[in-house]
């Protein structure tokens, strides 16, 4: 979503994005003239009249599980976004019985919070696991 019109979105997709990704942008390119939606989400930069790089993860119940907002010159890390979605999906599937420690990826150890784990995380989770 940006403040550009759908006509400009089409031109960008036709002339540039479709040369980067076969078939062009696979998702809807939303238009937010005036930044009305961006204002509600807290990402509209009034002085510049554009929207910051805001990224919101919304679960199947319509609840915001996470967000990240960057100023324009720095691009996002799509791999980290995907990792977060996988972690939120895993936690949701466990119905809150599991939590994913720092650096978690699919297949890695999760934590099962409860009285028995209090003060014992150091026994099962090592700092280096945040960086594997």
């Amino acid at each position: 979503m940006s403040v550009d019109s759908v006509f400009v979105h089409k031109m960008w997709d036709d002339h540039e994005l479709s040369r980067m990704v076969k078939g062009g942008a696979p998702f809807p390119m939303l238009s937010d003239g005036g930044g009305r939606v961006g204002s509600v989400y807290g990402v509209y930069l009034e002085d510049a009249g554009v929207e910051a790089r805001g990224r919101f993860l919304i679960d199947p119940d319509g609840v915001i599980q996470g967000f990240e907002v960057l100023t324009p010159p720095v691009g996002r890390n799509v791999g980290e976004t995907i990792r977060q979605i996988q972690a939120f999906q895993h936690v949701r599937k466990s119905k809150g019985t599991e939590a994913t420690p720092s650096g978690w990826k699919p297949g890695k150890l999760t934590l099962k919070p409860g009285p028995g784990l209090v003060g014992k995380v150091w026994e099962v989770w090592k700092t280096k696991m945040a960086f594997d």
Binding site: S31, R36, V37, V40, Y41, G42, R53, G54, I58
Partner: protein, 84 residues
């Protein structure tokens, strides 16, 4: 996904859906942005909105609440053709 919309000379518009939808013009700017920032909190509902969109050769109207039941990644960016 969404209803197809006709491409006329008027730029199609969307906006927030719900109680605040028709108030932005009347509310003083500062009050709006303060209220608004408090609305985004993890663990709380994502504010619903409708927006015109370009999707695979068509102009459509998209509403966030159409995607209930699915995970959604909503991305804002500064502008088309802006390099990053």
């Amino acid at each position: 996904m969404g209803k197809e919309i006709k491409a006329g000379c008027a730029r199609p518009t969307g906006g927030p859906v719900g109680e605040k939808a028709d108030t932005p013009q009347e509310t003083p700017k500062h009050a709006t942005s303060k209220e608004v920032k408090a609305m985004i909190t993890v663990g709380k509902k994502a504010p619903d909105f409708t927006a015109p969109a370009y999707h695979k050769g068509k102009f459509v109207s998209v509403q966030l609440s159409e995607f209930l039941g699915k995970w959604v990644v909503l991305c804002f960016y500064p502008g088309d053709f802006t390099f990053v």
